[in-house]
């Protein structure tokens, strides 16, 4: 199994509060991704990173920001959480991007009340 951890694993927060989710990898992979999983939608890409300080938007990036200051850590921030951001968030990693197989972390279940 790829060495990917996510923290926290569960979080309950209130609308309007900031939330930061962390993804940590021990594989030294260049590419890191944040997805959200919702019923009826499968997994959708929020943001991804192709190196330290290099990030780009995915399919559903509105309301989210990311940062990557170290190869091993990729942070996802909800600046002001909304109920529509209640979801399960997965981090993934891959060695070279370009459609290569991605390996997923265990997920963070977020509930915004």
């Amino acid at each position: 199994d790829a060495g990917i951890t996510q923290s926290p694993r569960h979080k309950v927060t209130e609308t309007g509060t900031p939330v930061t989710l962390r993804c940590h990898q021990t594989e030294n992979h260049r590419y890191m991704y944040w997805y959200r999983q919702d019923p009826g939608h499968g997994l959708r890409l929020i943001h991804y990173s192709y190196g330290v300080k290099d990030t780009d938007k995915g399919e559903v990036s509105d309301g989210y920001s990311v940062s990557r200051s170290k190869t091993e850590d990729f942070l996802l921030t909800l600046e002001s959480a909304t109920s529509s951001q209640t979801s399960v968030y997965f981090c993934a990693i891959s060695g070279s991007g370009r459609g290569e197989t991605q390996y997923f972390g265990p997920g963070t279940r977020l509930l915004v009340l």
């Binding site: 990917i4 590419y31 991704y33 009826g40 939608h41 499968g42 997994l43 959708r44 890409l45 991804y48 192709y50 780009d56 995915g58 399919e59 997965f90 993934a92 991007g97 370009r98 459609g99 197989t101 991605q102 390996y103 997923f104 972390g105 265990p106 997920g107």
Partner: protein, 112 residues
């Protein structure tokens, strides 16, 4: 618009029989396809993949078939085992791009 579709939300199969999970896609630029398996409260686990230059890829009990003209792929599991019970996601990508597009998943239940 969902570019990758799994039209069967669920499938039940007897242990020992074949499980066939289907996936359709609309983007003809997709050239790499993957299947992931997901257990509750865990992340998706990579199962098997296929490049568009092939029409079949086999790994043990798992075989993926690709029909490019029909924009259709399927995952065959033979023989099915109770431990195969999970949600299976089909995903597709374009070489050079960084996004995987996922289907909505099919929940497979293998009945002992």
């Amino acid at each position: 618009d969902q570019q990758v579709k799994q039209n069967s939300p669920s499938l039940s199969v007897q242990e020992g029989r074949i499980s066939i999970l289907n996936c359709d896609y609309t983007n003809s630029m997709f050239d790499y396809f993957l299947w992931y398996k997901k257990y509750p409260a865990e992340g998706p686990t990579f199962l098997i993949s296929i490049s568009s230059i092939k029409d079949k890829n086999e790994d043990g009990r798992f075989t993926v078939f690709l029909n490019k003209s029909a924009k259709h792929l399927s995952l065959h599991i033979v023989p099915s085992q109770p431990g195969d019970s999970a949600v299976y996601f089909c995903a597709a990508s374009v070489s050079g791009a960084n996004n995987l597009f996922f289907g909505t998943g099919t929940r497979l239940t293998v009945i002992p």
